[in-house]
């Protein structure tokens, strides 16, 4: 059956490589960032929204339409909630006295207050 679907092997390869990337990319995280990182990665698996759109786009009959609709609502909640909550958490880090990164962290805080949440909003704007 694997021979019938050569794409499967490619997907498995991608899966394994992605697992290594995911592991490596967060290998060193200070404990103060554990919660924002958890929240940020929570937002990223909101990509299931794309999957739910594909499913609802092709859904037929009341059962599929209902399940698909519910799935899109839930996935949207995951995406917008995830990014907005993370941004609010990280907002707390913007003013850090007596520390080198303070300068640019501060500058960022001043130039884009609120853009984080509006980006979150933006996820829904295609509608």
């Amino acid at each position: 059956m694997i021979a019938a679907d050569p794409g499967l092997m490619t997907f498995i390869t991608v899966f394994v490589l992605a697992a290594f990337v995911g592991y490596e990319v967060v290998s060193k995280v200070p404990s103060i960032l554990h919660t924002p990182l958890m929240s940020g990665s929570n937002a990223i698996h909101g990509i299931i929204l794309v999957g739910t759109m594909l499913v609802l786009g092709q859904a037929h009959g009341p059962a599929q339409l209902t399940l698909g609709f519910l799935a899109v609502v839930l996935a949207t909640l995951n995406v917008v909630g995830g990014f907005v909550v993370t941004d609010r958490m990280l907002h707390m880090f913007k003013a850090k006295p007596d520390r080198k990164p303070a300068a640019d962290a501060d500058a960022r805080g001043k130039t884009d207050p609120g853009t984080g949440s509006s980006t979150g909003t933006g996820t829904g704007t295609p509608s």
């Binding site: 697992a19 995911g22 037929h60 609709f69 949207t76 907005v84």
Partner: protein, 465 residues
Amino acid sequence: MSRATATDLVYLVAIVGFILALKGLSSPKRARLGNLVGAGGMLVAVAWTFSLPVVYSHTRNLVLIILAIAIGTVIGIPAARLVKMTAMPQMVAIFNGVGGGAAALVSVTEFISVPGKSLAIYKICEILFGVLVGSVSLAGSTIAFAKLQELMTGRPITYPAQQPINAAIGLAIVALLVVTVVTASTTVLVIVLVLSLVLGAIFVLPIGGADTPVLISLLNAFTGLAVAASGFTLNSTLLIVAGTLVGASGTLLTRMMSQAMGRSLPNILFSAFGSVVTASGEGPDAEGRSVRAGTADDIGVLLAYARKVAIIPGYGLAVAQAQHTARELADALAARGVEVYYAIHPVAGRMPGHMNVLLAEANVPYDQLEEMDDANQDMATTDVALVVGANDTVNPAAKNTPGSPIFGMPIINADLATNIVFLKRSMRPGFAGIDNELLYDPKTTMLFGDAKDSLSKLVAAVKTA
């Protein structure tokens, strides 16, 4: 360039955005930018998906998609914006849970959209994995949310024959998975879905409130894997990569968080199974033990004439939003030449790093913040340990009482300081739901009340002392 190639390229851009987001979130300097890059990747991927014929070809379905996204946005943004900072962990839990639910629904819908037994066996396996893991994540996150929101008790919930019952449900699911693969029956799949929800709930019930952040991180990784499974089902590299990134990084993060608590993950997940019944009846009864309550003036004098004071903040400080007042007190003491430092337990509050976030907001100088290990070295030479709204993170039972639910968790050794002052609202136990010996210690003085009020009174008392 064909549309398919363009789609792959756009999705690749989104994937790169997600990897950069995780990378950025690992450093304090780039964390906020990282999150924005991730949101940008998400926006690009979702916007492009609207240009795909499979999404827009049926007008009715397209309208439903837009409506569903609008509903999710209208609910999600206010919920995320208005929630108090102290309630953030449960918001992460619930947003994680709905993601798992969405992944499970995608798998179920794919299953019923293909007639009869025409699905390849490996396709059914992918679908089952998505349903199982997504449902466990949804139910588990919901229970975690209820615990943190105090809709139900934060204590471990146990019932007779817990392990045999849980094992039986687990085995039943395994058997039904096999049945589904063989028969491709929708009815059996629905039973698997329901039992997976039950499994997720009973998996989380015995886990104590204090361990919930680690649990949420684990469930976050679960949702990532469920999304990756949906990616296999839908033949979407984007979903596979993004889901797997979260699954892998979430697993590592879960390990790092449990290490910060000085405990192994199996210990956190399964220790309440069986052990808690004996542990909760542990310790001498509160009867016959007296608690010394002091006045703000007494304590103010004690602080003002100390040489070295440790402020040990906990959840109570966060609830009372007392971080600015804590800083005022530290400044007042410093003005009198008292050496002040903050002893930060890594999991004080309800999420790791909670205290750092709050104190950073109050512009507390970084050199005054001491991580647990450094603080513990200084504690023996500290005159006053001022515990502000913390409890479990200074409970000596973690060192002295084998069988206590928190035994083995590293704590701030406030008991080593010459004097201990607790600012607490009441004698109620902390989030772990266990009694704290230290409250009855002869060295301990209690000041009851809201942390912010108590701190304000202390500031005034120190200034006049």
